[in-house]
Amino acid sequence: MSERASVLEVKHLSAHFETEQGIVRAVDDVSFSVKEGETVCVVGESGCGKSVTAMSVMGLVQTDVKGDLFFKGKNLAELSRGDLRRVRGNDLAMIFQEPMSSLNPVLTIGEQIMEPLLVHHPYSKKQARHKAIELIELVGIGRAEQIFKSYPHQLSGGMLQRIMIAIALSCDPDMLIADEPTTALDVTIQAQVLDLLRTLQEERNMSMLLITHDLGVVAEVADFVVVMYAGKVIETGTVHDIFASPKHPYTKGLLYAKPVLGNRTKKLYTIPGQVPNLVDLTPSCYFHERCEHAMDICREKMPTLKLEDRQHVACWLYEKEVKG
């Protein structure tokens, strides 16, 4: 498993926004890689920079993005505009958080599924139409002919998210980035959409970068987990290791905050405190205000990702010299 080639490599990715309050470090020095056929989940609380990470990989962020992005060994920054266009939508596809607003309200579903086919492949209108109908059936919606002709507002959120998946898969991408694809859906539909994504991914040996804040989703689909906090990666590891032995206090908190059936405590555990404001962060562990193990060094120096057992973790608790 470790010998598989990396499809996407993210190295020292940073995306900073200049705002009136100051510089927002939405993504700060984030590195990870996604291997062939593997599903990597990025987890973290709201506002920790998950979406900005995904958008930066797709090149959709309207700000200076630093760091290197390698897709199938090619540096995305070095591609020409035309080559980048051929990569996006064709080899590298993305599903957005809100299915309702990600589809053009005045175009039919059919037109929108056919579009990438017509753009990236020498399909005729008729072939594209045929393929589009196939795709609608593939994502598990019946009456494809009818759906083909309908407008986004005539479908439910779950169906729209399936349509988004159909659009993303239309050109057989090598990699799919899904930004909280199920957050806007209700629970039963969530499970269906996740199942669908997982089956399609396995069938096509596609790599997937799945962004979520739902650990249930992670447990179900991930091979590898990247935990983010305030724009930084604080722990990475295989799904098994992360769930079996979380190292970082934040990861532990996240897992603890997840309710377990048949084990109702009086109050659900929540990690105390708030995500810090991303504007005025001083060098420190950004989690120190909420961490019960916080030490002096945590307030003064930023811990870096270090290998601990089989996970990488950024926490002073695991630094030998501090412990000793």
Partner: protein, 310 residues
């Protein structure tokens, strides 16, 4: 959250597909025909068009030849609306003038919608320097008062001795020149907000070319507002043309337009003693402009029920 029992929801999500590809415009049409005033406006306009463009073929008179013996006849069974100072049939002239006035109005609208629409979309989508240039020109044109500007341009046109039969085209161009900035502004602001919408971001993620993004994704979203503004602008163009022609600065005789026909009211004798010369074109302008406004308002409500009062 999984231990919280969920209210069972409908498993198979709702689909109420109302049929065909045309269902968006079908809805618009259904909402439109519910608006009585708009429908009345639309019917009247159709009649005015038929009257102007087809009517002359049924008229026994031409306005080419003059017939001084027949001049200044009051309305009669032969000449329903009387004759003018050259003995031409006023009804026939009214129809032919309608052709000119409506054509000028529509032509000016098409021109200003094309210019304003294209520039507005480009400015809103590309922003930066394109936006700066387009909007500064639009600002300058919008700060200059419209009518005096038209008068100046018309005066220049007279100075250049543009032949009478070409003047209507020049008038169209002049009207579109002062008409496009407002439209460009409106479209630009629409595009500025549309381009930030998630579905436009999604077109980036799909690797589409700019041309495709603009034509396939942005344009269809601004078409409704474009249609409404375009309709309403025809009324304004017809009015401006009438004013210019009334002052002898727009379409000039022998080509008839509703505006230059009213010019007859300039002389006191014609005004008091021969109302058949100026009342019909006046009524024609009035009714046409009102109907266009009714139609435009109805379309606006029908196209987007939430756009009311915007």
């Amino acid at each position: 959250m999984e231990n919280i029992p969920q209210i069972p929801r409908q498993m198979e999500p709702k689909v109420e597909v109302e049929g065909s590809k045309s269902s968006l415009w079908g809805q618009v049409w259904r909402r439109f025909i519910k608006r009585k005033m708009a429908v009345v406006g639309f019917l009247f306009l159709t009649m005015i068009f038929v009257f102007s463009f087809i009517g002359p073929f049924f008229s026994p008179y031409t306005t080419m030849g003059t017939n001084p013996i027949n001049a200044h006849q009051p309305p009669s069974s032969a000449h329903w609306l009387g004759t003018d100072h050259l003995g031409r049939d006023v009804l026939t002239r009214l129809m032919l003038a309608g052709r000119i006035s409506l054509t000028v109005g529509l032509g000016a609208m098409v021109l200003s919608v094309s210019i304003g629409g294209i520039l507005g979309i480009l400015a809103g989508y590309y922003r930066g320097i394109v936006d700066q240039i387009v909007m500064r020109i639009a600002d300058v044109l919008m700060t200059l008062p419209g009518l005096p500007l038209l008068f100046i341009m018309a005066a220049i046109m007279s100075e250049w001795r543009v032949p009478a039969e070409h003047r209507m085209y020049i008038v169209m161009i002049m009207l579109s020149l002062i008409g496009w900035p407002g439209l460009a502004r409106l479209i630009r602001s629409q595009v500025l907000s549309l381009r930030e919408r998630e579905f436009m971001l999604a077109t980036d993620a799909l690797g589409l070319r700019d041309r495709r993004k603009l034509l396939n994704h942005l344009l269809p979203n601004v078409v409704p507002i474009l249609i409404v503004t375009a309709t309403l602008s025809v009324g304004g163009a017809i009015l401006s043309e009438s004013v210019l022609s009334y002052f002898g600065l727009g379409v000039v005789p022998p080509t008839a337009s509703w505006g230059n026909m009213i010019n007859a009211a300039n002389s006191l004798i014609d005004f008091t003693n021969r109302p058949w010369l100026w009342i019909p074109p006046g009524v024609a302008i009035f009714v046409t402009v009102i109907c266009i406004n009714l139609l435009g308002d109805g379309l606006r409500d029908a196209i987007d029920p939430n756009m009311k009062g915007r």
